[in-house]
Amino acid sequence: MTYLKFGIAVLLFGAAPFFLASFHISLLTEILILAIFALSLNILVGYTGLVSLGHAAFFGAGAYAAGLIGQHVSAEIITTLLGGVLVSFMLALVVGIFCMKVNGFYFLMLTLAFSQMIYSFIYQSTTWTGGSNGLTGIPTPSLLGLELSNIVWVFYVTAILFLLLYAGISIFVKSPFGRVLVGIKENETRLKSMGYNTKIYRYVAFVISGTLGGLSGVLFTYFNGFIAPTNVYWTMSGTVLIMVLIGGAGTMIGPVLGAALIVILETVIATYTDMWMLLLGVIFIFFVIFLPEGIYGVWQRSTRKWLKGKIPQPELKKVDREKVS
């Protein structure tokens, strides 16, 4: 069953560029990149119960590292990807040591403090990062010498990494290790008394989360060809947190849906109104108060109802066929 879903996803992503216009492909690419970013944060927020308001720091670290390596060393994807991921990995290693000492609000504030320090460092290092103007002139990424000059190639690279990471994270959170993380979220004291060193578990979750956040940042530079300090600012951390929570924290597909909703809404709505923040605020509050389980929770509940209900289902035959296979 899982393999079938996976196979269909591969097919759909593979086929998408043959059906969709460039604009939609670039939108889809952006959604996938931000979905990876949201998935990485979800390991912390959804599975370990640590709410971070500084996740953009890792996104930025990965993105700037990839951009700089691309400019000064080589634009080869293998180099920039490894470099960017390594930098965010090391950053997560260091920041994690400190962040593991605190919980709850203090964790939120400490991640915010670290990300703002990294933001002001990037902002001030004008000669390297371009300061407020951002890092531009990042060469087109190339894979084994082949230039990925077209959005379709960037899309494929992103889609492949997305599918791999999605599968990887799914396996990870269902593994014994992942179950311990969920245990920490639900009742850390209990796990401690059972003899688990919860700090180590949280630390590993933090490092994985940060590293993957960096990976999405690297993809972002491939996609856009630039990186600006606004992508490291705390508002970016806030946006990705909104994606996770609207979509459904602690589920796999939730953050992906959240990322898709935010990107699509912003693209569609902002054409008609500049009251975008108002709308986002209303949607967000609506989810926090009335639908705390997120889009995925609502989807699950309503489809369950819908399928049980008396509404005629046009594609019933299809469903049956699927069942047989």
Binding site: F105, Y106, L108, L112, A113, M117, G281, F284, I285
Partner: protein
């Protein structure tokens, strides 16, 4: 350049900036300390105070003093509405939901303010009584800055007195450590929460009016204020007016000297201080341990 007069002048600058930070932050600290609600809409309430004061003084032509009373009251009413319609529904959902709710509110108020007052840079002039300058050791200081120091002091003493010397303060302190116990004593804790949130809104609005002649009114002002207030709050620690007061002055003086000595990294220093405090003393300089949600 590094003469003693300059150092003293910078110290006065830092003190007045710190007091301004205290006036801005005390409402946030009060609400966080007692309700456990990290009110991310605090900056927005501050902004509303400033904008309402702008309307009162510039659009309707009343004096600054009228604005100083009416604007915080208006914001207090807004806080009351928010508490009664939205916030009270989240008490059962846990602290995270409350934080997120206020975050959403901040977004909504941002656009509402833009709708009503536009995106122009606005300013309120200093009340004519305090518009002059004073010379101290050969350095000129605007009189209003020195008045702000006084306002901060009075506010700090007032809040300290309420918290430590009155029945209300006793209830609040008890609510901070054990809200169930208070309920058992026959005090309606929900009512206490409402009152505290409205008082927090009033103080936010008051901060907005006091700060407006110095900091001005412009789009995104609330987020900038919020971040600064959060820094002060964290450094000071929870539920302690004395802690917030101390932290505000430390941040004010440190940032002023940071700008003077190492201007390029002054913002970095403030966040580094915040990080160090969080790691070294997670509950702030003078804060108490509070149960987390």
């Amino acid at each position: 350049m590094d003469n003693i007069e300059t150092i003293i002048a910078q110290f006065i600058n830092g003190l007045s900036y710190g007091m301004l930070l205290f006036v801005i932050t005390c409402g946030l600290a009060l609400v966080f300390g007692i309700l456990g609600v990290l009110n991310l809409a605090h900056g927005s309430l501050y902004m509303m105070g400033a904008y309402v004061a702008y309307s009162i003084t510039v659009s309707f032509g009343f004096s600054f003093w009228v604005a100083l009373i009416i604007a915080p009251l208006t914001v207090a009413v807004l806080a009351l509405i928010i508490e009664r319609t939205l916030l009270h529904t989240t008490y059962k959902l846990g602290h995270l939901s409350q934080v997120l709710l206020t975050f959403g509110l901040a977004y909504i108020l941002h656009d509402l303010a833009k709708l009503v007052w536009g995106a122009n840079v606005l300013s309120i002039s200093v009340p004519s009584l305090f518009s002059g300058s004073v010379s101290i050791l050969g350095q000129t200081f605007p009189l209003y800055r020195l008045i702000v120091i006084g306002v901060g002091l009075v506010l700090a003493i007032g809040l300290w007195w309420i918290q430590n010397k009155t029945r209300w303060g006793a209830i609040i302190r008890a609510g901070l450590s054990d809200s169930e116990m208070i309920g058992a004593l026959g005090v309606n804790i929900r009512f206490v929460f409402t009152v505290v949130f409205v008082l927090g809104g009033f103080l936010a609005g008051f901060g907005g009016v006091i700060a407006a002649p110095i900091l001005g009114l412009y789009p995104d002002m609330e987020f900038q204020t919020l971040i600064l207030a959060l820094v002060v709050l964290v450094i000071g620690g929870l539920g302690s007016i004395t802690g917030t007061f101390t932290a505000a002055i430390i941040v004010g003086v440190l940032e002023t000297f940071g700008r003077y000595l190492v201007p390029e990294i002054s913002m970095f220093i403030i966040f580094a201080l915040m990080a160090v405090i969080l790691i070294w003393r997670p509950h702030g300089l003078l804060g108490k341990q509070v149960t987390e949600g």
